[in-house]
């Protein structure tokens, strides 16, 4: 009996927290058929928001993949002073609120800050522009690739790499032919998680982007802005699109997980 009681509580909990809200959004989105959804998502602002989101996410994923692999290799294969500090710092973005991240970036790269001012004089604008949004997203999604790769790299050990070296492989050859294939599933898992986080980021991007419609508006900002302006069909359609992307990435991670 206790078993069924616990199950009921768990299911009710998930229902009110997850199924009902998401279900309602989908229901409201498709309540008037498919045409309004297509119209809402093909408006110039929506298309532009899609493009901005995609641009920012892809840059952020690329940066975090390169940084993630490098840092994971550094943490697992090398010992150096400050290693524990680096290890702790990697997780910082998980603990800090994205809004704080955004404000901190403005303090450094804003027009009236020393670094930002210098870059501005060279014609490079960071804040209220794509580079700033990429920076914010990179920061927020920083630990995901590293944390996915580190345990697999540890388990892999360095004997295979050493064997490759004795067989005549250079460091790069050993990495490309032995290490990378060894961590490929974990890496793919980390990249998908990083992509999902980047697509869905709101807080940090909201602060650094300035929310300029048709310029620096990402999909999440678009949802919020449409909702505030009582354009509920567009808000719900974009929200459903985001939820759909999330579901796809979730399925991808499920697909990648067991092999990693």
């Amino acid at each position: 009996m206790a078993k069924y009681g616990l199950r009921t509580i768990a299911i009710a909990y998930l229902f009110f927290l997850l199924v009902l809200p998401v279900g309602l959004i989908i229901w409201r989105t498709f309540g008037d058929g498919l045409q309004p959804v297509v119209d809402a998502l093909s408006s110039p602002s929506a298309v532009h928001a899609f493009q901005v989101t995609l641009t920012v996410a892809l840059w952020a994923v690329a940066a975090n993949t390169v940084f993630g692999i490098g840092t994971a290799v550094l943490l697992v294969r090398h010992s150096f002073p400050g290693k524990r500090l680096l290890n702790a710092l990697i997780d910082l973005p998980m603990a800090v609120s994205p809004v704080v991240v955004g404000l901190a970036l403005i303090l450094v790269y804003g027009k009236f800050a020393p670094v930002g001012g210098l870059l501005e004089s060279w014609g490079i604008q960071i804040i209220f522009s794509t580079p700033g949004m990429v920076l914010a997203t990179v920061f927020v999604a920083l630990p995901l690739v590293v944390r996915a790769v580190v345990p697999v790299l540890e388990e892999l050990g360095d004997e295979q790499e050493q064997a490759a070296h004795t067989l005549g492989a250079s460091r790069l050859q050993a990495f490309l032919r032995i290490t990378l294939p060894g961590i490929r599933w974990a890496l793919a898992y980390g990249i998908v998680l990083c992509l999902a986080r980047s697509l869905g980021e709101y807080g940090a991007v909201a602060v650094v982007s300035g929310r300029l419609v048709d310029q620096t508006q990402t999909l999440t900002l678009f949802v919020e802005e449409r909702f505030q302006n009582f354009d509920q069909p567009a808000a719900f359609a974009a929200a459903t699109a985001l939820a759909l992307i999330a579901v796809i990435t979730l399925l991808l991670t499920k697909l990648l997980r067991p092999k990693g």
Partner: protein, 321 residues
Amino acid sequence: MAIEVRDVNKSFGTTPVLRDVSIDVESGSLTALLGPSGGGKSTLLRVIAGLEQPDTGTVHISGVDATRLSPQRRNVGFVFQHYAAFKHLTVFRNVAFGLEIRKRPKADIRKRVMELLELVHLEQMADRYPAQLSGGQRQRMALARALAVEPEVLLLDEPFGALDAQVRKELRTWLRRLHDEVHVTTVFVTHDQEEAIEVADTIVVLAGGRVEQVGSPAEVYDNPANPFVMRFLGPVTEIGGNLVRPHDIEISADPQEGGTAATVSRIVRLGFEVRVELRIDGKDAWVQVTRSFADQLGLKPGDTVSVRPNPGARSLALAAV
């Protein structure tokens, strides 16, 4: 000389692992580095391969100073205890790895790899993955992979350590035969004295980071340089302050010249051999005799006997130690 190691010192942190180690390995020989775990034998092998850098000292391979060369440029074959198989590559691609790195023509690679797979009896397994092989097969694959690049020396780090007893015995006989066929200078690490005696033509005994003795299996067994080597290479027992092999002791029911009186405490029959356990002046000792000899003596616990080292046998006085 295929390998010359001179005055090598190596510490991990503050712990010295190798102290003034110098060894020569002859071309075409099969040498065992034998010693207890933590004795420095694996570290020495890794120093020869370039996987560890010595703090001081030099390593020459085929007359070339290799001390500062990376493992990539030493042209050594290395076989790891846990195989270090490339898990994502087939057996064929594993063996082909070194040749692919050297950018040999495809047809040559194919020919060479198939030859090697035949040599290690894995020709049927070419398209399998390491996970589909048994431990013994994986280790043979690792050996073929190391031999593929025609190394100057072949280094094996406890090659049979992870295998069960039966496969171990098979593989060491097979390694000996393989070496007689291929003739590549081979150094292997082991903590199993039986393995070293059976397979190697030269044994280097390493303990506490030092070379204790170098010699042929017969030399180190029959003429151990010190009590440690004697103990490590085979069974020993103590009689009258001397360290003696239990099969080198004469035992008789009557007092004999130069003999020591002992009381039989137990008789253990182990098939062909019989282990006679004794008490001598309150200390335990034992003698190994054949079954027929034991039957002839008709010993039983409580009997008093006389024991003395076999006149021809080498024994070591313990007093100096």
